[in-house]
């Protein structure tokens, strides 16, 4: 049987491999160390780091971008440290997240989280109420983040605009 990798598929693979950290994809010889040691793969049958690497090699974009697959990686770097070929599947997952966002997609929870950082300077609201609780505990008020500065930085790179425009 011949497997043909279409031009689009090759183009997608090239895009992934251009992302810093994901350059070594083609060194993967499918040993499966990543999947064997992945704390998520032990519990989630559809999350298989080895399969993610293979699907990228064959440019199977749709299967990779399906559902919440890319967001199941805990970023624990176990695959990064254990891979005998230094393929770094965790970095391949990051590359896929970036491509997905460039194409306008982000899970709603992550969208809210990133917009929250820009708006509040923290991932949660840390305001009067929280500072009163802190005072009761003898703690100093939380630093007041320069939210204008943070938002300006996140907007200057084009990131915040992409996040705001994104859909699932």
């Amino acid at each position: 049987m011949t497997i043909t990798v279409s031009r689009e598929a090759k183009e997608f693979r090239r895009k992934v491999m251009e992302t810093p950290g994901a350059e070594k994809l083609m060194r993967c010889y499918q040993c499966g160390t990543c999947t064997a040691d992945c704390p998520i793969a032990k519990r989630v049958p559809e999350f298989r780091p080895r399969q993610i690497a293979r699907l990228v090699m064959y440019g199977q974009k749709e299967r990779l971008m399906e559902g919440d697959l890319l967001y199941l990686c805990a970023g624990c770097y176990t695959c990064y440290e254990h891979c005998p070929q230094e393929v770094h599947v965790s970095e391949i997952v990051s590359a896929l997240r970036r491509i997905s966002l460039d194409e306008g997609h982000l899970l709603p929870g992550f969208k809210a989280l990133m917009e929250g950082v820009a708006e509040m300077g923290y991932i949660y609201e840390i305001d009067e109420f929280e500072n009163e609780m802190r005072e009761d505990d003898g703690l100093p008020p939380a630093p007041v983040p320069d939210t204008d500065g943070i938002e300006a930085v996140m907007r200057a790179t084009g990131f915040l605009g992409k996040v705001e425009a994104s859909t699932r």
Partner: protein, 286 residues
């Protein structure tokens, strides 16, 4: 000894026991931790996966504040540790990237110069204060108490960036536990991630990962210590969600150290720990 203290969102708003104990123990050791005016979120470990440059810039804005203070940064969250250390290293080593990020940082009136270091609190304790100096401050002992350490991922990995301890055989937390007279123990899934980062995607996965560790530690030891707010919350919450809680005490590492130093439970915020630490407190001698 003086540091810029980067507490991080989750501890600031959810875990006063961690922050209080970290501050008190530092004070007892003569370490000054100064708040960082204008600092905010490190960027989160997610942001760097979504946009590399933005991740670096948001992290570098915080580092620039410490640079203005002329102090190295001490963190108490593994996520912040990884994010800030990685940005600090990349920007110090790559002048082209630094210039690009500084262009963006100008929007916030900041500049990254590359003049400070970032380290986790436990690393500061071991490397800068020293285990002997910590030992000298101990007034009580947890002799006979078996304590399991959970390191968490981002204090150690990627190794080439964090360069702090061997991710396959880390020792810093066990060394600190030993200064209290307690027995640091090994257990089968010691190096497993807490899966906290997927809590917002598949909560049940995080609870399953958390419970596996709690149940294992329960077989081998009396308590679990953590050095990260996310790991702590995973191991605490996964127990509270059970009809019958395994009741494994989870402590922030400075709480254990502080108790052995003779600090009282209020000063260390022990009352905020939702799984009762009674079995630990009962074992304190002296």
């Amino acid at each position: 000894m003086k540091y810029a203290f980067f507490v991080g969102c989750t501890t600031l708003s959810r875990l006063p026991g961690y922050e209080k104990s970290a501050r008190k123990v530092a004070e007892k050791l003569g370490v000054e931790l100064l708040d960082m005016p204008g600092s905010g979120c490190c960027g989160t470990t997610y942001l760097e996966t979504l946009d590399h440059k933005t991740g670096l810039a948001v992290a570098a804005r915080n580092i620039a504040i410490a640079e203005e203070m002329g102090l190295d940064v001490v963190t108490i969250c593994n996520g912040c540790t990884e994010v800030l250390t990685k940005a600090n290293r990349e920007l110090k080593e790559n002048p082209k990237l630094r210039a690009e990020v500084n262009d963006v940082l100008a929007e916030a009136g900041k500049e990254f110069k590359g003049t400070v270091e970032v380290k986790h609190y436990v690393r500061m304790l071991k490397e800068d204060v020293g285990l002997d100096a910590i030992q000298e401050k101990m007034e009580k002992s947890f002799r006979g108490l078996k304590v399991a350490s959970h390191y968490g991922c981002h204090m150690l990995k990627p190794k080439e960036i964090l360069m702090s301890d061997d991710p396959e055989n880390p020792t810093v937390l066990d060394d600190l536990v030993a200064t209290t007279g307690a027995e640091p123990i090994d257990y089968p899934n010691k190096l497993e991630c807490c899966a906290g980062p997927v809590m917002g995607v598949r909560e049940n996965v995080t609870w399953s990962v958390g419970l596996d560790k709690v149940k294992t530690v329960k077989q081998y030891g009396d308590a679990l210590v953590t050095a990260c707010p996310f790991c702590y919350l995973t191991y605490e919450r996964c127990q509270l969600m059970q009809e019958e809680s395994p009741n494994l005490p989870v402590l922030h590492i400075p709480q254990l150290l502080g108790l052995a130093m003779g600090l009282d439970t209020d000063e260390l915020g022990i009352g905020h720990n939702k799984v009762p630490s009674t079995v630990v407190l009962e074992r304190l001698e002296g």
